[in-house]
Amino acid sequence: MSTDLYPEAKTPIRDDILQHHARALQHIAAPGAWFSGTERVAIAAETRLALECPFCQTRKDALSPNAVSGDHTHGGVLSETLVEVIHRITTDPARLSRSWYEGILAAGLADAAYVEAVSVVIHTISLDTFARGIGLAPRPLPKATDGAPSGYRPASARHTGAYVPVIPPGDEFGDEADIYDGMIGANVQQALTLVPDEQRSWFKLVSAQYLASAQMRDFDQEPRAITHAQMEFLAGRISALNQCLY
């Protein structure tokens, strides 16, 4: 399956990337905790549509995102609130704020559903960025897998300072006992833990595309074809361009 994912690539792609990209696409298509597979594939498709949304472009260009009003151009499948979430995270993430997030909750999207939507969006953006980075078009989205959302919410998730509840390191137990395996529990590693399977899937992808947590701090080993210094320089440049303050 994975070897068919980038058949027109001009260079070999590491097996672990191929395996986790195939897995990530299936993850997007499968029922989650709060959305069906059909809804999750629609979220991924809407992530791509956001890049062509004229209202998003106008808002991105405005001095403040609150200075313009209008309607998103979208696929017509998802709620207006969910479309707003997907489009803002995709096209103007640096100006997201707690008040915006609270407005999303007030409009009826539950916190855990929000986290799951964030995860599907960023899985999609990551896969699509990789494809474009190796000179190819984003891969076709998979067909949704049948089944109902689990409705699972970890009992240990709580507010610790982020917009969303998280499982703080030290509070992982039961079904979440593995959630920080091999990780230091940095805040960004906590961010998606309100929907544990999303955190697990995302950091498997991170480990394949970038480095596993332990590898990030092991400067005696260079497991990639570019060095730690080169990777961190590139990561820093991407984050600066995205105006990410974390």
Binding site: T129, I134, A191, I226, I238
Partner: protein
Amino acid sequence: MTSADGGVPAGSELAAFAEALVAADPGQLAAAISTLRQAVGDAGWVDAAGVAATFNAIDRVADATGIPLEPAKVDLSADLRAAIGLDAFRDGRG
């Protein structure tokens, strides 16, 4: 190496690759890929694409979930944040 390359080998090519990817300009990206491949080889190019794919997404995880800086990073970055007024900027986001 120059000040624009971060002091790392192929830094200029990596920076151009990052800028082209975020700009989503196909012509700019094709040129950046070509020079990056020459600078770091094909395996390095694939690894660079993986790193860029990771951070173009993880930035959005951080921004969308509002995670704070870890205390150690707060301490380490205090002088820099004060110098450029970054704390006031974040507090003022609407």
